[in-house]
C-alpha cells in the first residue's frame, strides 16, 4: 500500500469509515426522536419530551462529528480523486450538489431550532423542527446513495468523442434501480443502529436501577423499532440488494460467497476461509443448495463460480471482501436473534426484569456499527477493480499530481486528528450518559 493509488484508496476508506460511524446513528436517531416528539405532542406526557430532549443531546454530539468529518468526503473527490472527478463530475456532481442544496441547509437550519429553540418555539413548531431534521438527514442519505449507486451501476450517461462521461438523462440517473434497494437497505440499517443504541442505554439504566422510567421507555422504543428495522434490513431489502449484485455484478457475488467453481444447486458457505493459492474454500460449513435458491429462487439453478470469470474482472481483495460480507450477515443474524428473544420476553411480560436480556441488549450495541461498516466494505470492495463499474478502473481515478508522500502526510494527519475526535466523542457521550435523561430536561437547552 505504498503506491500513490494505495494511499489514495486508504485515505478515502479511512476517512469514509470514520465519518460513517456518526451519520448511521443520526439518520436512524432522527426518526426515533421524531417518533418520541410525536408521542409527546399526541399524549401530552412529559416522559416522551424528556426522552426526546436527552436523545437530542446525544444526537447533537454525533451530528457535529458527522458534519466536520463529512466535509472532507466532498473535498476528497477533488483532492485525491481528481481524474475520476474530471471524468465523471458532470454526472455525480449533480447528486452531490443536490445534497448540499436540498438537505444540508434543511438539516442545519432545523437542528439549530431543535437544539436551541425549545424555549423559543411553540411545541408544534418544535415538533416540526424534529420532522425537518429527520427529512433533511434522510434526503442527505438518499443523494449519497444515488451517487454510490451510479458508481455501482452507471446509468443515464453517454460517452463523448474523447471517452468522457456525459450525463444523458437526469431522470434515468435518479431512477437508477440500484438506488432504491440500496437506500432502503442502508436506511433500515441506520434505524437498526439507532434502535440498538437506544435499547442498550435503556438496558444500562435498568441494570443500574437508575432513571428506570426512562430506561424502560428507551428499551421499549429500541426493541420495537429494532425488531421491525432488523427484519426489514434482512428481508426484503438485504435480499433484493443481493439479487441486484447477482444480476449486475456476478463476479462480485461469486467472490463474496467464496464460490470458486460453477455449479448447479450451489451451497452457501456459513464459514470457511478462501484460499487464494489453491482457489478453494478451506474448512467450509455449507447449507446445501441455499446459494442457488437465494440468488435465483430455484434450488437447482446454476451459479457461476469465480474461475469462470476472467481474472481482470475479479475484485482485487477477495478474502477481505468475503470476510466483510460474512461478518455483516453473521452479525445481522445475531442481532435478529437478540431482538426476537427480547420481543418474546416483552410479550410474556418478563423483559424489563430479565437481567440476562438486559445484559444482552446492552452488550450487543456495537454489532450494528460493525455490521454496517462491513456492509459498506462489501459494497465498495465488491465494486473493485472498478471505480465506476464496467466503465472506469480504480487505477485510473486518483489525482495523478498528488504524490504518495503527500498522501501519507495528510493520511497521518487525519489519523491523528480523528483519534483525538474519537477520544472526545467517547468522553462527551459518556458524560451525557452519566448525567442521564432526567437532568437533561431540566438543563439549559
Amino acid at each position: 500500500m505504498d503506491s500513490a493509488l494505495g494511499i489514495h484508496r486508504l485515505h478515502f476508506a479511512f476517512t469514509a469509515t470514520f465519518h460513517y460511524i456518526f451519520p448511521q446513528l443520526t439518520m436512524g436517531l432522527a426518526l426515533l426522536i421524531f417518533v418520541l416528539k410525536t408521542q409527546a405532542l399526541r399524549t401530552g406526557r412529559a416522559e416522551y419530551d424528556q426522552a426526546a430532549v436527552f436523545w437530542t443531546r446525544i444526537f447533537s454530539v454525533n451530528f457535529a462529528l458527522g458534519v466536520v468529518t463529512g466535509i472532507p468526503m466532498e473535498f476528497q473527490f477533488g483532492t485525491n480523486w481528481a481524474s475520476f472527478s474530471r471524468a465523471a463530475g458532470g454526472v455525480i456532481g449533480q447528486t452531490l450538489a443536490m445534497e448540499g442544496v436540498f438537505s444540508f441547509f434543511l438539516e442545519s437550519t432545523f437542528l439549530g431550532l431543535l437544539v436551541y429553540g425549545r424555549q423559543r418555539l411553540s411545541p408544534a413548531l418544535h415538533w416540526f423542527s424534529s420532522l425537518m431534521v429527520f427529512v433533511g438527514s434522510w434526503l442527505s442519505g438518499f443523494f449519497i446513495i444515488a451517487t454510490d449507486a451510479w458508481m455501482q451501476h452507471p446509468v443515464g450517461f453517454k460517452l463523448g468523442p474523447k471517452g468522457e462521461i456525459l450525463l444523458d438523462s437526469f431522470g434515468t440517473l435518479l431512477g437508477n434501480p440500484w438506488i432504491y434497494w440500496q437506500y432502503a437497505h442502508n436506511m433500515t440499517a441506520s434505524v437498526v443502529t439507532a434502535s440498538f443504541v437506544m435499547a442498550a442505554l435503556g438496558a444500562y439504566y435498568m441494570l443500574r436501577r437508575q432513571h428506570e422510567a426512562q430506561g424502560r421507555l428507551f428499551v421499549k422504543t429500541g426493541v420495537a423499532a429494532g425488531m421491525a428495522a432488523t427484519l426489514l434490513m434482512i428481508f426484503p431489502t438485504g435480499d433484493r440488494q443481493g439479487r441486484m449484485v447477482t444480476e449486475y455484478q456476478p463476479a462480485t457475488l461469486a467472490a463474496m460467497e467464496g464460490q470458486f467453481d460453477t455449479m448447479r444447486g450451489a451451497p452457501i458457505a456459513l464459514v470457511g476461509q478462501p484460499d487464494m493459492e489453491r482457489l478453494e474454500l478451506d474448512n467450509p460449513i455449507n447449507v446445501p443448495r441455499a446459494l442457488s435458491f437465494l440468488t435465483h429462487q430455484r434450488w437447482t439453478a446454476e451459479v457461476k463460480g469465480l474461475k469462470d470469470f476472467p481474472r481482470e474482472q475479479w475484485p482485487d481483495n477477495i478474502p477481505l471482501l468475503y470476510y466483510s460480507y460474512h461478518i455483516m450477515v453473521g452479525l445481522g443474524t445475531v442481532m435478529l436473534a437478540v431482538m426476537a428473544a427480547s420481543v418474546l420476553l416483552w410479550w410474556r411480560g418478563m423483559l424489563f426484569t430479565h437481567r440476562t436480556a438486559m445484559w444482552a441488549l446492552m452488550l450487543v450495541f456495537p454489532f450494528p456499527y460493525i455490521a454496517t461498516t462491513f456492509g459498506w466494505m462489501t459494497a465498495e470492495l465488491g465494486r473493485q477493480p472498478w471505480l465506476i463499474y464496467g466503465l472506469m478502473r480504480t487505477a485510473q481515478g486518483p489525482s495523478m499530481s498528488v504524490s504518495a508522500g503527500n498522501g501519507i502526510f495528510t493520511l497521518l494527519g487525519f489519523m491523528g486528528l480523528y483519534a483525538l475526535l474519537a477520544l472526545l466523542f467517547v468522553f462527551l457521550v459518556y458524560r451525557e450518559v452519566e448525567r442521564g435523561p432526567v437532568e437533561a430536561s431540566a438543563g439549559v437547552h
Binding site: 468529518t69 450538489a97 443536490m98 442545519s108
Partner: protein, 342 residues
C-alpha cells in the same frame, strides 16, 4: 449557459464569504473583545444557531462547482492539495470547538476551546485570502490541465511560486482584516453594553486595517495579473463592482460612527460582495489562469460540464435556492435580537 453557472457558483461562494465570514470574524474577534467567559459565551450564542447553516454555503457552492465545472474542481482541488487539507483540519477543529465548548462548565475546558476557536477562525480567514490570491496570480497548469503547488518555494509570485508568496500573504492579510471587521460588526449588532462598545472599537480598528490592505492589494493585483486591467478596460461597466466595495467600506465607517449597527453590518456585506465580484469579474473568462502558458488557462468554457447537465441543473437549482432562502429567513428571524451577557 456556462456564464450563467459561473455567476451562480460565484454568488454561492460570495454568500459563503458574507455569511460564514461573519462567524469566522466573530471567532477571531471574540478572543480580543470578550474579556470574561460569560462575554465569550454571549458571542458564541450570537453565532451558535446559524454558523452551521452558513458553512453549508461552502459545501453547496463546492458541490455546484463540482457538477458545473468538473475540470476546475478536479484541477484546483488536487493542485492546492496541501493547502486544502489544512483548511479541512481547521474546519474540523473550529466546528468541534463551537459545538463542544458548552458541554462542560470548567475553567480549563472552555478557555481551551475558545483559543482553538479563535485561532482556527483566524487561520481560515487568512487562508481564504491566500486562496483568492492564488486564483488571481495563476498556477502552473500543465498540458493535462493539472498542477501541484507546494505550500511555499521562494515566496516570490513568479512561475515557481508556491501557495504562499508575498502577494498571497498580502491578500491573506486583507481577508483577515476584512473578516475581522465584518465579524466584529456582527458582534456589535448582536450584543449590548460594554461588550458591544468593545466590539465596536475593535470593528473601528479593523476597519482601518481593511481599508489599508484593500488600498495595498488593489494596484499590486493589477500588476501581478495584467488580465484584470484588460478586462476592466474592455468592459468599463464592471467598475460597478469595485464601486460597490468602496461604497460598502465607506458605509461601514459612516454607519458605524452613527451607531447604526445593523446598517454598518449590511455595508460590510456590500464591501465583501463588491470585493468578491470585482475579482470574479476581473479574471473572467478565466476561472484559473495559468502563470506559465496562457493557452493552458482554465476558462468558463473549457472547464464547464456539457450543456445538457447545466440545463438540467437549472431546473433543480432555482427551486432549491428558493427553499434555502426560506430557511434562512426562518432561522434568522428566530434568532433575532441582541444577546445579554449573563
Amino acid at each position: 449557459m456556462e456564464t450563467v453557472w459561473f455567476c451562480l457558483v460565484a454568488i454561492m461562494i460570495a454568500f459563503y464569504v458574507v455569511f460564514d465570514g461573519f462567524d469566522l470574524g466573530a471567532g477571531l474577534a471574540h478572543l480580543f473583545v470578550g474579556r470574561t467567559e460569560a462575554e465569550r459565551a454571549a458571542i458564541l450564542q450570537a453565532i451558535g444557531p446559524v454558523w452551521d447553516g452558513n458553512e453549508v454555503w461552502l459545501l453547496a457552492g463546492g458541490g455546484t462547482l463540482y457538477f458545473a465545472f468538473p475540470a476546475l474542481y478536479s484541477s484546483s482541488f488536487s493542485g492546492f492539495y496541501l493547502a486544502l487539507m489544512i483548511v479541512l483540519w481547521l474546519l474540523i477543529l473550529r466546528g468541534i470547538s463551537i459545538e463542544f465548548r458548552n458541554h462542560i462548565d470548567s475553567e480549563m475546558w472552555m478557555p481551551f476551546w475558545d483559543v482553538v476557536f479563535g485561532a482556527s477562525s483566524g487561520l481560515l480567514a487568512l487562508l481564504y485570502g491566500v486562496a483568492l490570491g492564488n486564483v488571481v496570480r495563476g498556477v502552473p497548469l500543465g498540458a493535462d490541465g493539472f498542477f501541484f503547488l507546494p505550500l511555499w518555494t521562494d515566496f516570490l509570485p513568479g512561475q515557481k511560486a508556491g501557495v504562499i508568496d508575498w502577494y498571497t500573504v498580502l491578500t491573506g492579510l486583507a481577508s483577515l482584516a476584512a473578516l475581522s471587521m465584518h465579524g466584529s460588526l456582527w458582534v456589535t449588532m448582536k450584543t449590548t453594553g460594554e461588550l458591544r462598545a468593545r466590539s465596536r472599537q475593535f470593528a473601528g480598528r479593523s476597519w482601518w486595517a481593511a481599508a489599508a490592505m484593500t488600498a495595498a492589494i488593489t494596484p499590486v493585483s493589477f500588476w501581478i495579473q495584467p488580465h484584470l486591467g484588460e478586462r476592466f478596460a474592455e468592459a468599463p461597466w464592471g467598475a460597478v463592482f469595485p464601486a460597490l466595495a468602496v461604497a460598502g467600506l465607506a458605509g461601514a465607517w459612516i454607519y458605524g460612527r452613527r451607531d447604526r449597527d445593523g446598517m454598518a453590518f449590511l455595508a460590510s456585506c456590500a464591501y465583501l460582495l463588491g470585493m468578491m465580484t470585482s475579482v470574479v469579474f476581473g479574471v473572467y473568462p478565466y476561472v484559473l489562469p495559468s502563470n506559465v502558458d496562457a493557452s493552458r488557462s482554465l476558462t468558463v468554457f473549457n472547464a464547464a460540464a456539457p450543456h445538457y447537465g447545466l440545463q438540467v441543473g437549472l431546473y433543480w437549482w432555482f427551486p432549491g435556492i428558493v427553499l434555502v432562502t426560506g430557511y434562512f429567513i426562518f432561522a434568522y428571524r428566530h434568532s433575532h435580537g441582541r444577546i445579554e451577557v449573563n
